[in-house]
């Protein structure tokens, strides 16, 4: 489950997030950006490095994630 949310309308498609992603989980084209749920480990490096706050770490979803993991 993805804890990282992208605000695509805010994105400048600059590629910082792709450069720091250890899993190569982010696909960035000219003006589209997607995180692969399969590859992403929610490490949040992309969130920290985004210069313009496009990526958000959804802390509020952690409980939901725990619930789904231990179901």
């Amino acid at each position: 489950m993805l804890l990282i949310e992208i605000k695509p309308d805010k994105c400048d498609f600059c590629g910082v997030c792709v450069g720091v992603c250890p899993e190569d989980a982010i696909e960035l084209k000219e003006a589209t950006i997607k995180i692969s749920e399969e590859l992403c480990t929610n490490c949040a490096k992309c969130v920290w490095c985004c210069p313009i706050e496009v990526l958000v770490f959804r802390k509020d979803k952690i409980q939901q994630l725990k619930a789904s993991t231990f179901k």
Binding site: G15, L28, C49, P51, I52
Partner: protein, 389 residues
């Protein structure tokens, strides 16, 4: 018209990519450049400052892509002390959208084919060997074969990953940048301004690079571990609101500058990486245009020769040539960067106070460095780390 097969495929049409393509094509081999954006040179992701000496070997300076000519720097410490340094060489602030376009034309003139809006999403492999690239163009999936692939795909550096090279960088080495190009700003047209300190740009610097007619690039880069605490966009907004309220903002761009060592692997099988993709940026200044073009020229020329002589072992010379020309110097800059990365405001102020005592005619970056050491011996300790560990 794009062929089905090329000797060399270059992914990315920034200065490193088009220079690699040009140098390869000049060897008489067939070259294709694939660029994911619709334009070469746009969007600009750069502060646009270069030295004249740095670019002259690759392109003749032309007023149509020189926004301003620089002959001095002003370094501003956290307490506002301004240290002016006369630059003993000539600097330019570029119009990258025109500059990159001209480099693209030079590659085309040498014979390279160019396709924009071409997004490379994987390498093509046959019998375990890399034989080309897979890409999307206008929504269609396509393939093109190539004997040598040059990854010039910038900070993202995915071509390297597809080839099995670890290209992602640690966040403290990623300078996270935002820049506004503003107008109606009253700054000297031949001076670059650099602001240092916690309030401006922790783990980096804030710059004002004039672009003539009272316009300027105002931007900053901060280390990724610092950006984690407060974002670059909030720092730059703060600065502009305080120092230059109401300046019209013509553009806003974000970007990342990989201020690390060159990747330990910049060639693997028949794949070479150049420019930001190879982490060939000067890790101290964050400048990557000149060094990227040097990397591109070395890789392009070797690729062309390898094809012509049908000797792919030549590609293995690339890291050695890169390191002797530039890479070794970058290793030293990287150590300096790490030593000053966490300098506190008091240290930066103290250096500035010493520096302004040096007569302006004798003031150079090196003399500031020396005086800073003498004036504040504790600094020796910090700089000793640079050279002795």
């Amino acid at each position: 018209m794009i062929e089905k097969f090329y000797d060399v495929i270059v992914v990315g049409a920034g200065p490193a990519g088009t220079t690699a393509a040009r140098f390869a094509a000049e060897q008489g081999v067939s070259v294709l450049i694939l660029e994911k954006d619709r334009d070469i040179g746009y969007p600009v992701r750069c502060g646009e400052a270069v030295s004249k000496d740095g670019i002259e070997p690759f392109i003749k300076p032309d007023s149509k892509w020189i926004a301003s000519t620089i002959n001095s720097f002003v370094l501003i410490s956290p307490d506002g002390t301004e240290v002016k340094i006369n630059f003993n060489r000539t600097g330019y602030i570029l119009e990258r959208r025109i500059f990159d376009y001209e480099l693209g034309k030079l590659a085309a003139k040498a014979g390279a084919h160019i396709l924009t809006k071409a997004y490379v999403y994987d390498l093509l492999r046959e019998d375990g060997k890399i034989t080309g690239v897979k890409f999307e163009h206008n929504g269609e999936k396509k393939e093109v074969k190539g004997k040598i692939i040059i990854g010039a795909d910038g900070v993202e550096s995915r071509i390297g990953r597809f080839a099995g090279i670890k290209t992602h960088i640690k966040i403290s080495d990623m300078e996270c940048c935002v820049q506004f190009t503003v107008s109606n700003i009253n700054v000297d047209a031949s001076t670059c301004y650099f602001y240092f300190g916690e309030n401006y740009a922790p783990g980096g610097y804030l710059w004002i690079f004039p672009k003539g007619n009272n316009s300027a690039n105002v931007g900053l880069g901060i280390g990724g571990d610092k950006a984690k605490i407060k974002s670059p966009i909030s720092y730059i907004n703060n600065f502009l609101e305080n120092k230059f309220p109401n300046v019209p903002k013509l553009t806003m761009i974000s970007g990342g500058v990989p201020c690390s060592l060159t990747l330990s692997e910049i060639v693997k099988e028949n794949v070479l990486l150049v420019g930001d993709a190879a982490r060939q940026v000067n890790p101290l200044s964050g400048g990557g245009i000149t060094s990227g073009m040097i990397g591109g020229s070395i890789a392009g020329e070797l690729a062309g020769k390898a094809i012509k002589e049908n000797n792919f072992k030549l590609l293995m010379d690339y890291p050695k040539i890169w390191h002797s020309r530039v890479g070794r110097r970058h290793e030293m800059y990287y150590k300096v960067k790490n030593a000053i990365y966490n300098f506190r405001d008091e240290t930066l102020n103290s250096i500035a106070h010493s520096a302004i005592k040096i007569p302006e005619s004798e003031r150079t970056l090196l003399s500031i460095f020396k005086i800073a050491l003498l004036d504040k011996p504790s600094l020796l300790f910090e700089f000793a780390k640079i050279f002795f560990y």
